[in-house]
Symmetry: C2
């Protein structure tokens, strides 16, 4: 058996980021930058006022001084001339400071009477002025490569004057469910059959991780039909298979795709829930074979497929994020397999997470998994722990799973 | 001044969930259920084997017993007949247990010789059998109303045989930026002007919260032009405005829309960054007026717009999720305004979050905000805290902002 970490490293080592494409800024949220984004302008473009008030020479702004108002400069309408001794220009937040001015008299510190402005609070040179380039200057790197774009980043790219952004193409992941017993929701169910849930859950997980799922038609337990899938996956960035439970986990899938050149590794991973995972390559397309059991398939996807999508998308392929939590009940000592206990999560009075594993951890129970909030991580050979002990957990809603 | 909590409660009190629409299961990830989802079938549909092996009468399964193999039942191909004394049927994980059988002899506990199967480990009645309905039964509520659908939920709905789901329509949020100084990225920039970043950042935030943004054309600082916006927002679930900084925060927007019947509340909210927020209604459309400053606009959106979208989407309108963290550096005592310190976040050796606020918290600096990982929450009048003190923080990447 190999560890979860070794399996993940071996999967990631064979993956390369997708090439770049150009998308409109408005469609770039959640995408991953294919290169650094550099500012195309300087912000602020010139010295601007940070407040509403009057621009003047600070030397003229002593307490009680009176100045002559010579103009107004709303944002977007800079004062065209230069300001001389004893003169003031009405300005607003974001207005360019007129030539000759080096101080701002705040609106609330001034009394205006027609064209006369009286200083009620001495002006300090440079105060309330944002310097040109204080936020960023043309040429500055404002976003790094490999960053999944947040709402702030979209604002940043806009402010840096980018209507388009180069991002990694969404990884295309083909999803194959096999089995004579499988029907799509709403379609006739064969005798003793079940409705396919893995394809749709995995497609949603691929979306959650920023990929583009392609759900292939269900293939019957037939070697030739499975072999034909090889034609459908040309141009995909990954093929994920599940099931084939009727005749042993991956036998028919492997046998069928082997006719088309599948190079395959089988691993027994020291984890639970989960069975052997198959990883290989089919004409340059990485192939990940997951268990047919829905809970096992999703847990394996969280541990292996989501990091794979991260790497294919141009990121690092980090393992799923975990949070610190305390146990809401005791757990038994673990055996040699890393366990992922389905658990509910509450917050204690300090706002810290408390995770309580379900008593029954039957991996066939999809409904119970749907009701879980978190997976509690249990390392191989971890000792029994009492309620209140610290553990780490994966919050399922936080990753969209 | 009113508190952040009171402002949020007042905004939410006026909002109602959008009506339902039907979407294909494949498009339902991230949507919010408009009603409870009930199972349309029972899972497992009958008693099924949990393992590969042989079905038999447990009474026949004593150690050393020999049974006659009378058939094979792969999943999806149930055994048609009934099993009698001394008989066994080959079955697989998920296969329906044949009539007459009440025990499973595991494959690894059996020796097969042609049609003869020898028991190497005594069989226990009922063991390794999943009972009909063990996961769920027809009619069971498998997903509640008001739930944002995860990948697991999609799998659950599929297993319960739902090809379509009723979900709340995505809230349509019109976004209006005003100002003579504003240009769209890539378009000509007026003298002293800046590129609009708020519209795009807010549109991305609306997407992150499950809404549908409609970015309206930039409107100049002209009362009539602003009034005309009233026609554009019919049928929207909310209008969000930003800026108008050239002539005071909301003056022209309010004056313009008031001609068309805007009913308005101005609030001074005890928070930072942020200025007065405007909330009101325009012909039945809720209107949220945000500051023009990009950092203030986004922080106010996290605190008010995202919960509003949650409620419009059919959820509870919860405030943004926070995590417990410790301070990486000291913070000064707070004044009467709730503060939201932009901070970097690292994990300590125990995996707990350490948040370190930037020294400068200038709300005009979008780039610094883009580099932040978290907002550290500081309640009004919170005392000075040393490094290592516990605080709560909003993880920005976790909410897509």
């Amino acid at each position: 058996m190999i560890s979860v970490e070794e399996a993940r490293a071996r999967i990631l080592s064979g993956l390369r980021p997708t090439p770049a494409e150009i998308v409109a800024l408005a469609n770039a949220w959640g995408r991953v930058t294919a290169g650094a984004v550099r500012a195309r302008l300087t912000q602020p473009p010139a010295d601007v006022s940070a407040m509403d008030g009057y621009a003047l020479r600070a030397a003229d702004g002593g307490l009680g001084a009176r100045l002559r108002l010579i103009g107004t400069a709303p944002a977007g309408h800079p004062f065209a001339g230069a300001l001389g001794p004893g003169e003031a220009v009405r300005i607003f937040t974001g207005s360019i400071v007129p030539a000759g001015a080096d101080g701002i008299l705040l609106q609330e510190d001034a009394t205006r009477d027609g064209e006369l402005v009286t200083v009620n609070e001495a002006v300090v040179a440079g105060r309330h002025i944002r310097r040109a380039g204080q936020d960023f200057s043309a040429g500055d790197e404002v976003l790094p490569a490999g960053r999944r774009l947040t709402a702030r980043d979209i604002g940043m790219a806009a402010a840096a004057n980018h209507p388009w952004l180069g991002v990694h193409r969404r990884p295309r992941v083909a999803i194959l469910a096999t089995g004579d017993e499988i029907a799509m929701p709403g379609e006739p169910i064969p005798p003793g059959g079940i409705v396919s849930s893995n394809s749709h859950a995995l497609a949603a997980l691929v979306r959650a991780a920023g990929g583009e799922p392609i759900v292939l038609p269900v293939v019957q337990d037939d070697r030739e039909a499975i072999a034909a899938v090889a034609d459908a996956v040309a141009g995909m960035d990954m093929l994920v298979t599940t099931g084939g439970a009727s005749v042993g986990e991956h036998d028919l899938v492997v046998a069928g795709l082997a006719q088309r050149g599948l190079e395959v590794d089988f691993w027994k991973i020291a984890m639970r829930p989960g069975k052997p995972v198959m990883f290989g390559g089919l004409g340059g397309v990485p192939v990940l074979g997951l268990p047919g059991n829905p809970v096992s398939a999703l847990v394996c996807s969280i541990l292996f497929l989501m990091p794979a999508l991260g790497k294919l998308s141009g990121g690092a392929g980090d393992p799923p994020p975990t949070i610190p939590a305390t146990l809401g009940g005791p757990v038994a000592a673990n055996d040699q397999r890393a366990d992922h206990l389905r658990a509910t999560m509450t917050l204690d009075e300090t706002g810290s997470a408390v995770v309580t594993p379900f008593g029954a951890q039957d991996s066939s129970m999809l409904r119970r998994f749907a009701l879980a909030d978190a997976l509690v991580l249990r390392a191989p050979h971890a000792p029994a722990l009492p309620a209140g002990a610290p553990v780490r957990a994966i919050r399922l809603d936080a990753i969209g799973v």
